[in-house]
Structure formats: structure tokens, C-alpha cells
């Protein structure tokens, strides 16, 4: 059951097939390699002038990455609006049950996690989409290694949070 309106999720094979189809269509129709985290650099580039944010890959990608990121927000909004209505909320499932923190604590926790994601995906050169789906499908060694690393670190961290810290 999803946190969002307690919906039953799509079956995994259907969701996976849809993601694969979108990845292939994006490449075939627009000649773009699926990847989300690089788009955050385009957002950073709106405010920061460091050479890293002025490199060609970023200036070239802006025209497609920014509307794509906007679409992700819109997709979430439509999903909520068509399944019980859109409303802002703080529900965080297992985290609420184990830790019971209020909004300020959740924002701080998420901010810390976000720092790891922002710095980590830029250092790794990709995330679940660019490395995990596209890179592995293209048999790229950098992507296989990076995906193994982030899966292992995620497994370790969640087990520490819920089986050690949350259980004490």
C-alpha cells in the first residue's frame, strides 16, 4: 500500500515495462539518454557561476532537462489529484511509526539525506535512472559499479536506521 491515499501500487512488471518503454522512447524520439540527477545541475546553474555549472554538457542539456524535471512534479501532482485529490501532507509511513518526529525534524532529516544525494550523485556521475537503468542496460562498467555501491550503502543504512537505531 502506498503512503499516497493508501493506493494499491501498479504491479512491478507493469511499472518496470512502462519505465523501460519511456526510456527507449525518449532515446528514439528525442535522442536523449535518460538521466535525472544531472538536471539538478541545471537548477544549480541558475544561481551558481562556478565553471562546473558552465560546462557544455550542462548548457546543452538545459533545454530538455528543465522541462523533464517539471514534468516529474506534474506527474506526481496529477497522480495525487486523480486518486483522491491533491492536498499537502506530512505522512511518512514507517518513519512516523518508529520515530514520530514532527515536521521540523522531518525537514531536517530529509535535508541531510538530500545533501548526500546531491553530492553523491554528482560525484558518481548518475543516479538510479542514468546509472541503474540506462547505464546497466548499456553494459557500462561505471554504471554497474556505481549501482552496486548505492544499493549496498542503502541496504546498510536502512538496516542501521530500522534494525539498530529504530529498534532500540
Amino acid at each position: 500500500m502506498l503512503i499516497l491515499h493508501e493506493l494499491t501500487p501498479l504491479p512491478w512488471w507493469l511499472a518496470g515495462t512502462a519505465i523501460g518503454a519511456i526510456t527507449l522512447l525518449l532515446l528514439w524520439v528525442t535522442n536523449q539518454r535518460l538521466g535525472i540527477s544531472t538536471g539538478f545541475e541545471n537548477l544549480c546553474a541558475l544561481a551558481l557561476r562556478a565553471p562546473y555549472f558552465r560546462r557544455d554538457e550542462i548548457t546543452r542539456g538545459r533545454a530538455w532537462r528543465l522541462p523533464f524535471l517539471g514534468g516529474l512534479v506534474l506527474g506526481g501532482l496529477l497522480s495525487a489529484a486523480t486518486s483522491g485529490g491533491w492536498r499537502p501532507f506530512w505522512d511518512l509511513g514507517m518513519f512516523d511509526a518508529s520515530f514520530g518526529w514532527g515536521p521540523a525534524g522531518k525537514l531536517a532529516w530529509m535535508f541531510v539525506g538530500g545533501l548526500f544525494i546531491g553530492f553523491g550523485t554528482r560525484l558518481a556521475g548518475g543516479c538510479t535512472s542514468g546509472h541503474g537503468i540506462f547505464g546497466i542496460s548499456n553494459l557500462e562498467r561505471a554504471s554497474v559499479e556505481s549501482t552496486l555501491a548505492f544499493m549496498a550503502a542503502g541496504i546498510l543504512t536502512t538496516n542501521l536506521v530500522y534494525r539498530v537505531w529504530g529498534a532500540s
Binding site: L4, A15, I36, L72
Partner: protein, 149 residues
């Protein structure tokens, strides 16, 4: 290609992420706890569909409009693994990888604001520190101003 095309692709992708569990805190934790197969099934199926399709597209070598297909492999360097470890920690803490941060924001999950702020600060810090990190971690040289921006 017009911006609206990418907006539609992003919207479709975001909707699937929202309804599949990929943008759900509990499904991410239960994946990492080996309590749920859902996310492993999604990622596995996505690769099982993308890999043969990509092989065929590369063999054909053309996009839908007849342009030469462009697939640039990502550079390999020590940052792939080190950055992957940091990202994995963040994915576990927030229950969101980069796409789902934006999807959760759209769904109305207010805590996603914290994750987005953290990601932008983290990515910004990486960009600013790049000149100091790139030597030690053998990261690729920046390609600047070749004119086709």
C-alpha cells in the same frame, strides 16, 4: 524538439514513479530491508526491457526523425563507487532517489521540500569544490565553451 515533448515524457515518468512505489518512502525502506520485492521487480523489468531495446536501437543507429543516434557512455573513475555510496546513504535516509524527490513534491509530500533543498546544496557544493576534488579522484576534465551550447 519542443519543451512540451520533454514535459510530457517527464509527466508520464513521474506518474509511473508515483503509482509504482518507486516514490514511496515505505517501499524504498522495505526494498533495503528485503521485505518487499516490488522495487527489485521494477528495476529488473526496466533493465530487461531497456537492454534489448537499446541494442536494437543502436544497431539501427537512427532516431525516429532519421538523425544519427547518440549514446555517450558515462566516464569511469573512482567517484562512481564513492559517490554511489554517498548517494545510497541519502536514498535510504530520504526514501527518495532524484526523480522521486520531484514526484513526491508534486504529490504534496511537504518533507520533500527538505530533500530538494539538500540536493541543491549538495550538488552546488560539489560543483564549487570540483577543482579540488578532480585531481585526487581522477574525475574527467571539464569541457567548456566549445560553442555548441
Amino acid at each position: 524538439m519542443g519543451a512540451w515533448v520533454y514535459l510530457i515524457f517527464g509527466t508520464a515518468f513521474g506518474w509511473v514513479l508515483s503509482r509504482s512505489g518507486a516514490a514511496d518512502y515505505d517501499f524504498i525502506q522495505r526494498m533495503f530491508l528485503f521485505e518487499s520485492f516490488q522495487l527489485y521487480g521494477i528495476l529488473g523489468t526496466a533493465v530487461a526491457v531497456t537492454a534489448p531495446g537499446l541494442w536494437l536501437l543502436k544497431r539501427a543507429g537512427r532516431t525516429a526523425t532519421g538523425k544519427p543516434l547518440r549514446v555517450t557512455p558515462k566516464p569511469r573513475h573512482p567517484g562512481n563507487v564513492l559517490g554511489g555510496v554517498l548517494f545510497g546513504i541519502g536514498w535510504s535516509i530520504t526514501g527518495m532517489c532524484p526523480g522521486p524527490i520531484l514526484v513526491n513534491l508534486g504529490e504534496g509530500k511537504l518533507y520533500a521540500v527538505g530533500a530538494l533543498a539538500g540536493v541543491l546544496v549538495g550538488a552546488g557544493a560539489f560543483g564549487v569544490l570540483y577543482p579540488r576534488l578532480s585531481g585526487a579522484l581522477r574525475l574527467p576534465k571539464l569541457e567548456l565553451g566549445t560553442g555548441d551550447g
